[in-house]
Subunit: 130 residues, 2 copies
C-alpha cells in the first residue's frame, strides 16, 4: 500500500504519516522506487495512533500505548495508568476552561457592545488582579 491509500484508510494526512515515521512510531518498508510500502500492521498502527490522538493522548503516550498493544504479556494496569493520568489532565483542563468561560460569558453579557467606548471587558483586563 502506498501512502495515499493508507492516508485515506487511516484518516491521517500523508504529512502526518511521514512525520510519524520520522519520529519512529512506524517503520514502513520501501519499494524499489523509494515509495513507502505499508503493511497491514502499519495501517493498524496508524489507525490506532489516529484514535489515540483523537482522544488527546500525547505522542509519547501513544508510543507507550503502542508498545503495550504490541506486548502480549502486558499488564492492563499499565494501560489503565496512562489513561487515568491523561483523564486527570483532561479534567483539570476542563476545569480551567470552565472558569475562563464563566468569567468571559459574564463579561460578554455585561458589555453593551455598541458604538460607545465604555467596556467592562477592558475594565476587567485593565484593573483586576490575575
Amino acid at each position: 500500500m502506498n501512502i495515499g491509500e493508507v492516508s485515506k484508510k487511516a484518516g491521517l494526512p500523508p504529512k502526518t504519516i511521514r512525520y510519524y515515521e520520522d519520529i519512529g512510531l512506524i517503520t514502513p518498508l520501501r519499494d524499489p522506487n523509494g515509495y513507502r510500502s505499508f503493511r497491514d500492521s502499519d495501517m493498524h498502527k496508524l489507525a490506532f495512533l489516529g484514535r489515540s490522538r483523537a482522544l488527546g493522548f500525547t505522542i509519547e503516550d501513544c508510543r507507550n500505548l503502542l508498545a503495550l498493544w504490541d506486548d502480549q504479556d502486558r499488564a492492563s494496569a499499565d494501560v489503565r495508568a496512562i489513561a487515568k493520568e491523561h483523564l486527570a489532565q483532561i479534567e483539570s483542563k476542563i476545569a480551567d476552561l470552565a472558569a475562563i468561560r464563566d468569567t468571559l460569558s459574564h463579561l460578554v453579557r455585561e458589555c453593551a457592545g455598541d458604538g460607545r467606548p465604555d467596556c467592562p471587558i477592558l475594565n476587567k483586563l485593565e484593573k483586576f488582579p490575575t
Copy 2:
C-alpha cells in the same frame, strides 16, 4: 523600572517580557547602559497582557485588545466581538474535552487494571472507528 521589578509587579517572567517586546507588544525605553527602562504605561500594558493571556486570548487577540484599550474612541462592540468569538472557541473546546473525558472515564472504569493483558482501552483504540 528594570525588567526584574516589572517582572515581579506584572507577574510575568523576564523572558516573556522580552518576548513581548520582540513581537512588538510593548516598546520600553533604554537606559544608557542598555538596560530596558519600563514606564508605568509599559507596566500597565504588561499587566493587561498577563490578564488577557490568563483568560486564554491569543497573542493576536491581545494585540487587538491592547489597541482597542489604547483607543479612546473605540466601540465596545469591537471588544465584545473578540471576546465573544473567543468564548465560542472555549466552549467548543470544552465540549470536545468533555466528550473525550466521557469516553476515557468509561474506559478506565471498564479496565480491570491488574496484571492480566486483557484491556478494553486497547480494544477500543484498536477497533473502533474514530
